[in-house]
Symmetry: C2
Subunit: 353 residues, 2 copies
């Protein structure tokens, strides 16, 4: 895990400075002070993340001895900006006021609107964040459009971007809709939603784009994609575990927010199926409450343990990680990089944020 | 004007059926019934417009004897889908419940959420519409990515898409922010906002893309861009006039919505400067009211006429139309198409919806 963490540190500075540069360039072309300020806000928000996606793209490019590091850094930065755009919209939809340990962008703009004396500052915050999320998407699109590669790679990159973003959106739609509706989707529906919402763009997209840039073989591109899908679903399930068990100090998000938002996670689906008797009554009543307290979250955590759901979830993550490892081991890359990818699989299984 | 209207009718069917096909293709890949329904909602919303932008693109392609009509229709459909995505987000921001004579997409989803028994159906409607607006953008992006043209044209098209969409977003930011803040931006600020928000993508984008597809000369591409900028600003100012004077029957939008939303239009800026004495007091009080009635709108309309602001606005539209005409007359195209473009300029000056 240390090896992987040190990898994540390697291109950190390049990604951060590229992202800052992207917003600074645009800011200097603008006179309106509110819009100028918005560029600072976006720049700060986009550089707040762990930079996993951007680093994965660069790692994959380097794995295949790619000769286009500058483009890999550019696309890595673009993916981080897209990710931020998606989180900005996500937080509006879920009313999440905290993101990455600080106010979400919409929450920042609610405060800003209040300070500026705007009457409906809640609406103002949401609307400005909506439009800035859109802006992030189209800035990333421009970086993609300006990438300097051969024609075939260029076309593949544009198409992959468009296809993957549609998947994320469909996953986001399902995640939100499941949460608002009564009733439980099937395990398969939830896993399909995870594949769309997380696996496609958080892992597969950076791996495949890195592979494209370095002209990896068709066989390896497909393996990277499948590696990404399996690991990506494991990544989302691990996120669910973290969301339930970790403290705000670790995650920068309030504990138990999935429960508060009635999210239909795999853990939740297992709870609904496994929990019996009085526990079942307690659980049903709990999920119907409009305000869920810390003691309620504790009860859920206890039941997850009592009914061995934590074990079942760990097994699924283990099984997905194994599948990912299998695909990875078939890649035509040298053992040093195989070790690095293994460490990433391990990192996911042990991370607490 | 009739000539231009008949032109708009020429590719109407092709655009509508292409858009319907785009959503149908995606719908057939989906099992979830809510998501399937969303594709019908989007398809219906996207085909509700006047198709001006899509037709302009095809017109420009044909003007230059383009040999790629199929791509022109595809990109025309994509531009209409982008436009719909922008309107969907716009209506969320402005709380506009009516669009194109029917409920806006977010308003439709508020009703749908209510019927589905969702507790916070207002939030549900806004959130689902937010994510579906994003979806529209990325679907359009895929159409752009799949376009079959030579490499240079392909790259130019991708870049133009990304650059223009950023402009629209910046214009939308300014428009919204001006409306929420006290005080009046300068006329120059308003015109700059119009150039960003409307001119760049409603007129210049389809003209330039049509030109790219048909390999128009560099000189003509620049002229098309400038033609589009001038006509586009005139188009937005005409929209303001329509928004103030036309009835809901004509526009499909409630009368005076710009006034209700405190929009800082050019008409509003002129009112603030020209209106004097008791009228000024009446006007200031009116814009501070939280509920603006039809009689208030009537008062504003009367003042626009009393202080000759209608004349001043008509002069500006006339002057921009002349500039557009000047650029247009320098294009290397035959007289039949020059007549058609002239008719479009005229159409804008006389349209009531």
């Amino acid at each position: 895990v240390t090896i992987f963490n040190s990898f994540l540190a390697q291109y950190w500075d390049s990604l951060i400075s590229t992202i800052n540069q992207v917003f600074l360039e645009r800011k200097t072309r603008i006179e309106n002070s509110e819009l100028s300020h918005a560029h600072d806000m976006l720049s700060e928000f986009c550089t707040r993340g762990k930079m996993i996606r951007g680093n994965l793209l660069i790692l994959t490019h380097n794995t295949y001895n790619g000769k286009n590091l500058q483009s890999a850094i550019q696309l890595g930065a673009a993916i981080e900006i897209i990710h931020s755009g998606a989180l900005i919209h996500d937080d509006i939809m879920d009313n999440d006021e905290i993101r990455r340990g600080k106010p979400s962008l919409y929450a920042s703009y609610v405060s800003h609107g209040k300070q500026s004396g705007i009457r409906d500052f809640n609406e103002y915050g949401r609307s400005i964040a909506l439009v800035l999320g859109d802006y992030a998407f189209f800035i990333a699109k421009e970086i993609f459009a300006r990438i300097e590669v051969d024609e075939e790679t260029y076309r593949r990159i544009q198409l992959k971007f468009a296809e993957t973003l549609q998947k994320v959106i469909l996953g986001q739609f399902l995640d939100y809709d499941f949460g608002k509706k009564a009733g439980m989707p099937t395990d398969e529906d939830i896993l399909e939603m995870y594949a769309l919402k997380t696996a496609s763009y958080s892992i597969s997209l950076p791996l495949v784009l890195g592979g494209y840039l370095a002209h990896a073989s068709e066989k390896d591109i497909n393996l990277l994609d499948e590696f990404g899908k399996n690991l990506g679903i494991a990544f989302q399930i691990q996120d669910d575990v973290i969301g339930l068990l970790s403290t705000e100090k670790d995650t920068g998000k309030p504990i138990g927010s999935d429960i508060r938002e009635n999210k239909k996670t795999l853990i939740r689906a297992f709870l609904e199926k496994e929990v019996k008797g009085d526990d079942k009554k307690i659980l049903d009543a709990l999920f119907k409450k409009s305000i869920i307290r810390e003691e309620d979250i504790k009860k859920v955590i206890d039941m997850v343990s009592k009914y061995h759901i934590d074990k079942k979830i760990a097994d699924i993550i283990e099984s997905l990680s194994k599948k990912a490892h299998e695909r990875m081991s078939q890649l035509s890359i040298n053992s040093e990089y195989k070790t690095l990818f293994s460490k990433f699989i391990e990192y996911n299984q042990h991370r607490r944020s």
